[in-house]
């Protein structure tokens, strides 16, 4: 069953208190070279059936209107899982292929 991945991040210009707290914790652990951590959300939507253009439009709408609040967040990526492997298999963007190649992302959001 295809899985569609939606990534949402707090707007760059706004304070991200969770990220700030994590940056502080990293510094205390001796990882001070990481000057900034920002924390977002990943949504995985499993759909029963092929990812049609209609489904994609619906996901874009859901991402903008429900999964994110445009006042405080940006949808930074939607992966419809329509990448391809060098060996010809279908794959989800970011995953590795069964044949060992890396997945080449298809149509981006």
């Amino acid at each position: 069953m295809p899985t569609i991945v939606v990534d949402v991040m707090p707007k760059a210009e706004l304070l991200d208190p969770q990220g700030k707290a994590t940056t502080g914790a990293l510094a205390r652990l001796g990882h001070g070279k990481f000057e900034n951590v920002r924390i977002g959300k990943r949504f995985e939507l499993t759909v029963d059936g092929p990812v049609t253009d209609e489904i994609k439009a619906e996901v874009r709408k859901i991402a903008d209107e429900v999964l994110s609040n445009s006042v405080i967040e940006d949808v930074v990526g939607i992966d419809f899982g329509d990448g391809t492997c060098e060996c010809g298999d279908a794959c989800s963007c970011g995953d590795s292929c069964a044949c060992g190649a890396s997945c080449q992302c298809g149509a981006a959001a």
Binding site: L14, P17, V66, V71, I72
Partner: protein
Amino acid sequence: MARIGVVTFPGSLDDRDAQRAIRLVGAEPVALWHGDHDLQGVDAIVLPGGFSYGDYLRPGAIAAVSPIMTEVIDAANRGLPVLGICNGFQVLVESHLLPGGLIRNAHQQFIRRDQRLVVENASTAWTNQFEAGEEIVIPLKNADGGFIADAESLKRLEGEGLVAFRYRGVNPNGSLDDIAGLTNERGNVVGLMPHPEHAVEPGFGPNVAEAMRSGTDGLRFFTSVLESLAARA
């Protein structure tokens, strides 16, 4: 007798306190349920504090699309007075009945304090018993109370007098322009982070200069809505 509905969401904490405040000003509280589509013919609505649906996704976000909110949004757009307190304010913002957004407090901690506020707009359905510029004390308790909006929206809501309350003394959560509460253009929808229903009875209110736990400034939110309903009738 005015009938004022209080919506209970899964996770609401202060619904009973809001009902008590309504009873104290001589109105009849009506319990409304998040899963219903029935507003039971109430004259005004309070969205109480606490949490809702675990505040999953974003605080107030899932409550904003609950069955009862379809009716609340419709009623608010027709002019019915709606007050959102704390999580209720978050629900109003997520419902787009009020502008902007509310994020985790800038200092990343939950805070509870007796908060001084300035009433900036005293001509709404929920603030007409205050004087503009008056200072009041209302308990505040939240983790996600940081009000934000982009520069353009902020300029618009300042310019149009939509800031209903501002924090004085301490800004407890990093809210832009010290904004504690907002109204819509029509003045029937008001939302704020502090809890007026916890400042309605001597002995159980915030500490004020005169005596401990004796602050009752919250009562006037509820007498305001009665005045507004009476003026309309």
